[in-house]
C-alpha cells in the first residue's frame, strides 16, 4: 500500500506541476492577480507531494519491502540502514526521483525567497520551473517508475546495492550533484522569463545571481566528492578519468563558471547581456544533455545507468523542446538587447570576457571529445574511444591561459584601468610568483621540473591577486586596514579563486611527484616508497555486516619512526558475490600513502599497489573552498538591499512605460 501511496503522491505532484506551468502564465497574460498569486501555493504543493513520494520510497527501503522491483534490485535486508536510505538514489529510477525532488526544492525556494521581486516575473520563473518539473516527473512516471511492484511472486531477499556504492561518499555525492545540476534550471528559468517579458535589464541578472552561484557551489562540492570517491573506492589511485559521466558533470560546471562571471558583469555594468542569456541556456542545456548521455546508453561508461532506448527517446524529445524552445525564443526575442556600456582593453570587463571565452572554448572542446566516439560511429566510420590523453592535451593549455587572466581580473578596474595602475599592481605579484614557482621544485625535490614550475607559479599568482584585492578593498582613506569593510561577496570571490589555486597546486604536485609501485610482497618483507618504509605483516580474515574480507596489515614508518598501520581489504559481498578492493589510505595535508591489495599469489604473498600522492587532498579541498566562497557571496547583504532598490527603480520605470503607452 505504501509504495502505491508514493506513486500516487508523485502523480499528484505532476498535476501540481502541470497547473504551475499553465495557470500563472494565464494570469500574466490576462493580468489577473489571483492567478499570478497562485504560483506560490502551487510550488508548495509540488514540493510537498514530491517530498512525500521520495520519503515513502525511503521508508519502503528501510522496511525491506522487496515486493517493489526497484528495492529488490538495489537493497538487501543485511544492508546497514544508512545504505538502505542512500540506496534510494543508487539506481536509475530512484535517482530520477531524487532529481525531481531537488528540482521541486529549488522551485519552492524560489517561491519563498523572492518576495522582493516583481510578481509577474516570479510567476513566469515558477511557471518555467513547473514545465521542467512536468518533463522530469512525466519521465519518471512513464519510463522509470521506482514504485513498480514485483507481484505476485516477489523475492524474499533483495539483490543488494552495488558494493561500489556502499560508501559514505556516495551517500552525499548524488544529492549535492543533483542540487547543482537542477539548480541551473533557476538561472535558465530567469533567462527565459526575461526573454518572455522582453525585459533584459540588469535587474534579472541581479536576481538570478545568488541562485546561480548556489547551484554552482553545490555542483563544485558534488564533483569534488565524486572525484574523491573514485580515488579511494576504485582502488587505482586516480582521481579523474575523463569518463563520459564525469564529463557530464564537469561540462555544466565549466559553463556555469562562465555564467556566474557573465552575470556579474551584466549586473554591475549592464553589458554582456547576450553572453548571459546564452550561457544560462547553454549551462542548463548541458545539464539536460548530460542526463541524456548518462541515461540513454548512447555512450558507454563505467557508471552509466541501465540502458533503455525508450528513455533515450523521451529525454531527447524533452531536450529538443526545452533547449530548442529556449533558443527559438532567444532568436526571436533577443533583438532589443543592446549593450550600451563601453569599456577599454585594460578593464575588468576585458579580463572577464577573455576568461569566459576560454571557459566556453574548454566546454566545447570537452563536449566534442565526449561526443566524438558517437559522431564517428554515427557517420559509420568505426568505433573509437577518446581517452585522457586528448583531454589533457587540450584542456591543460587552456587552463594555463585562464589562470593567467585570473591573476589580472580582480586587480583591474571596471571600464578602464588608470594609467600605470595595472603594471603597479601586477609587477610585484608576477615577479614574486615566478620566483616562488622556480624555487619550489628545488626546495621540494632538489631539481627543476617544468610542470611544477608552471603550476606553482600560477597557483601563487591567483592567490596573490585575490589577497591583494582584499587588501585594497580593506584599505581605508587614512591608510588603516578594515577587513569588515570588505563586502562579503568580494570575500566570497577571493575564497573561491583561492579554492581554484588550491586545486591547481594539488593537481600540479600529484601529477609531477606521485610515485607508484607494484610489488609482490610476502609477510615480513618491506619496500621503500618515496622515503617511507612499508612492511607487510600478513593478512587477517574479517567479517563485515554484509561481506567477508581479507585484510592486509601494513606497517608504515619513516626514518624508523612508526607512522600508521594500513589495512587494505579484499571484500567479497555476500549477495552480489562481487570482489571489491578497499584501499587503505593515510592522509595528511602534505601527502597520501595509498595501499591496495591485488591478487593473492602463492604461499601467503600478495601482489600490491602502493602509491605516494603528495598534496592530493588539496585537489578536493579546493572544491570545498570554491563552494564556501560561493555560499559566502550569497550571504552578502547587497543582494537583499539592492534588490529592494531595484524594485523601486523598476516600479518607476514600469510606470514610466505605462505612462508612455
Amino acid at each position: 500500500m505504501i509504495p502505491e501511496l508514493g506513486h500516487f503522491a508523485l502523480i499528484i505532484g505532476l498535476a501540481f506541476a502541470l497547473c504551475l506551468s499553465i495557470v500563472p502564465l494565464i494570469g500574466v497574460a490576462q493580468n489577473n492577480q489571483q492567478l499570478i498569486n497562485s504560483a506560490k501555493p502551487l510550488s508548495f504543493g509540488l514540493f510537498l507531494f514530491v517530498a512525500i513520494s521520495i520519503f515513502l520510497l525511503g521508508y519502503s527501503f528501510t522496511i525491506d519491502d522487496f515486493s517493489v522491483k526497484y528495492i529488490a534490485g538495489h537493497s538487501n535486508s543485511l544492508l546497514p540502514y544508512y545504505y538502505k536510505i542512500s540506496a534510494v538514489w543508487g539506481g536509475h529510477e530512484g535517482s530520477m526521483l531524487l532529481w525531481v525532488f531537488a528540482l521541486t526544492c529549488w522551485t519552492f525556494a524560489v517561491s519563498v525567497f523572492s518576495k522582493q521581486l516583481e510578481k509577474e516575473f516570479v510567476a513566469r520563473v515558477l511557471a518555467i520551473m513547473g514545465m521542467i518539473a512536468v518533463g522530469f516527473i512525466l519521465f519518471t512516471v512513464l519510463t522509470s517508475n521506482p514504485f513498480e511492484r514485483l507481484l505476485p511472486n516477489f523475492p524474499l531477499e533483495g539483490r543488494d546495492l552495488n558494493p561500489l556504492l556502499q560508501d559514505f561518499g556516495l551517500i552525499i555525492h548524488p544529492p549535492m550533484l543533483y542540487m547543482g545540476y537542477v539548480g541551473f534550471s533557476v538561472a535558465f528559468a530567469f533567462a527565459i522569463a526575461a526573454l518572455m517579458a522582453g525585459k533584459m535589464d540588469a535587474a534579472w541578472a541581479r536576481w538570478s545571481r545568488p541562485w546561480t552561484v548556489a547551484a554552482w557551489s553545490f555542483l563544485s562540492v558534488g564533483i569534488a566528492l565524486g572525484s574523491w570517491w573514485a580515488y579511494y573506492e576504485l582502488g587505482w589511485g586516480g582521481w579523474w578519468f575523463w569518463d563520459p559521466v564525469e564529463n557530464a558533470s564537469f561540462l555544466p560546471w565549466l559553463a556555469g563558471t562562465a555564467l556566474i562571471h557573465a552575470l556579474a558583469v551584466t549586473e554591475q555594468r549592464n553589458t554582456f547581456k547576450h553572453w548571459t542569456l546564452l550561457l544560462a541556456i547553454f549551462t542548463f542545456s548541458l545539464v539536460l544533455l548530460g542526463a541524456f548521455l548518462v541515461r540513454s546508453g548512447v555512450i558507454t561508461s563505467v557508471h552509466s545507468f541501465a540502458v533503455d532506448p525508450e528513455r533515450g527517446i523521451y529525454l531527447l524529445v524533452f531536450l529538443a523542446i526545452a533547449v530548442g524552445g529556449a533558443l527559438t525564443l532567444y532568436a526571436l526575442r533577443a533583438t532589443n538587447v543592446s549593450s550600451p556600456s563601453r569599456f577599454t582593453l585594460y578593464s575588468r570587463e576585458s579580463a572577464i570576457l577573455v576568461a569566459m571565452s576560454i571557459l566556453v572554448t574548454a566546454t566545447v572542446t570537452i563536449l566534442l571529445g565526449t561526443l566524438y566516439p558517437l559522431i564517428i560511429d554515427a557517420m559509420g566510420m568505426g568505433k573509437i574511444s577518446v581517452g585522457a590523453p586528448y583531454f589533457n592535451a587540450v584542456f591543460v593549455p587552456m587552463m594555463i591561459a585562464l589562470f593567467l587572466f585570473m591573476g589580472v581580473g580582480p586587480l583591474t578596474r571596471w571600464k578602464k584601468a588608470r594609467k600605470g595602475e595595472l603594471s603597479k599592481h601586477l609587477n610585484g605579484t608576477s615577479i614574486f610568483s615566478v620566483l616562488f614557482g622556480a624555487a619550489w621544485p628545488f626546495i621540494f625535490a632538489g631539481e627543476f621540473s617544468l610542470s611544477a614550475f608552471i603550476g606553482m607559479t600560477l597557483g601563487c599568482w591567483i592567490v596573490l591577486a585575490v589577497l591583494k584585492d582584499v587588501f585594497n578593498n580593506a584599505k581605508q582613506a587614512d591608510g588603516s586596514l578594515k577587513f569588515s569593510a570588505v563586502p562579503l561577496n568580494h570575500i566570497g570571490m577571493a575564497v573561491a579563486h583561492a579554492g581554484i589555486a588550491i586545486t591547481v597546486i594539488g593537481v600540479t604536485m600529484v601529477s609531477t611527484y606521485e610515485n607508484e609501485i607494484n610489488v609482490k610482497m610476502a609477510p615480513g618483507e618491506s619496500v621503500n616508497l618515496s622515503g617511507y618504509t612499508i612492511e607487510f605483516d600478513g593478512t587477517k580474515n574479517i567479517l563485515g555486516p554484509n561481506y567477508s574480507a581479507i585484510q592486509g596489515q601494513l606497517k608504515v614508518s619513516i626514518d624508523g619512526e612508526f607512522v600508521t598501520l594500513l589495512k587494505p581489504e579484499l571484500r567479497t559481498y555476500k549477495v552480489q558475490r562481487m570482489g571489491m578492493t578497499e584501499a587503505a589510505i593515510h592522509t595528511n595535508v602534505w601527502r597520501d600513502i595509498y595501499v591496495a591489495l591485488g591478487d593473492p599469489l602463492e604461499t601467503n604473498s600478495w601482489s600490491m599497489r602502493l602509491y605516494y600522492k603528495p598534496f592530493i587532498v588539496w585537489i578536493w579541498s579546493g572544491g570545498f573552498f570554491m563552494a564556501l566562497g560561493g555560499f559566502l557571496a550569497i550571504l552578502s547583504k547587497r543582494y537583499r538591499k539592492r534588490v529592494l532598490v531595484t524594485e523601486q527603480k523598476l516600479k518607476q520605470s514600469t510606470s514610466a512605460v505605462l505612462k508612455e503607452a
Partner: protein
C-alpha cells in the same frame, strides 16, 4: 543580418539533436573483439553439473555454437534468461553456457530455479577462458561457426529485437556458407 546571427545557436543545437537521435540507434555494446575471425582457443574446464570432468573445445558440438557468458551476480543475465530459454529451442544452433567467475552452488540453484537453457555450462571459476576470449563483463554471447572460428561477439543482454537484428542475419549467412561448403 544581425537577427540571422541569433539563429546560429538554434541551428547548431538542431544539428546536435540529429546526431544524438542517430546515436540512439547505434549500439555502443556491439564491440568488435580482437578474437573475431580467429579460432576459439582451447581450454580445459569442468561443467557446472560435472565438476570432476574436464571439457575442451571439441566438446562444444554443433554447426553453429552460441557461447553465452553468464553469472549469478549479473542482473542483466536474469533479464536475458527467458530469451535464452526460447533461443535454445532453435534447431539451427546449440547454446552453451560459460559460467564466469561465479559460485558453484549459486549457479546450480540459478539453473534449477530459472530452468537450464544450455546444452551444458562450462564452469570458469577463475575466469581463465573468459580472459582468453576477452570477456568484458556478463552477459556476453559469442557465435562460433562450423569450422570453430569466432564470428561474432555481442556484449549485453539478448532480447527479441537483438536476436532478430544481430543474430538471425549471421545465422542465415552461416547456413549459406555451410551449404556452399558442402556442395
Amino acid at each position: 543580418m544581425k537577427s540571422i546571427i541569433r539563429f546560429i545557436p538554434l541551428i547548431l543545437f538542431i544539428l546536435l539533436g540529429v546526431l544524438l537521435y542517430r546515436g540512439l540507434f547505434l549500439n555502443p555494446q556491439a564491440m568488435p573483439s580482437a578474437m573475431i575471425g580467429k579460432p576459439l582457443p582451447n581450454f580445459q574446464l569442468p561443467t557446472l553439473k560435472a565438476t570432476d570432468q574436464l571439457f575442451g573445445r571439441d566438446d562444444l558440438k554443433g554447426n553453429i555454437v552460441l557461447l553465452n557468458v553468464w553469472a549469478t551476480w549479473c542482473i542483466q543475465c536474469k533479464y536475458e534468461h527467458p530469451y535464452l530459454l526460447e533461443i535454445a529451442l532453435d534447431p539451427r544452433i546449440k547454446l552453451y553456457g560459460l559460467n564466469f567467475t561465479d559460485d558453484l552452488n549459486a549457479a546450480l540453484s540459478w539453473l534449477k530455479q530459472y530452468k537450464d537453457p544450455y546444452v551444458f555450462s562450462l564452469f570458469d571459476e577463475q575466469g581463465a577462458l573468459g580472459l582468453d576470449i576477452g570477456v568484458f563483463g556478463a552477459p556476453e554471447t559469442f557465435v562460433i561457426d562450423h569450422t570453430g572460428i569466432i564470428r561474432k561477439r555481442f556484449a549485453g543482454p539478448i532480447n527479441n529485437v537483438v536476436w532478430k537484428e544481430e543474430f538471425l542475419p549471421l545465422i542465415k549467412t552461416l547456413e549459406i556458407e555451410m551449404a556452399n561448403g558442402a556442395s
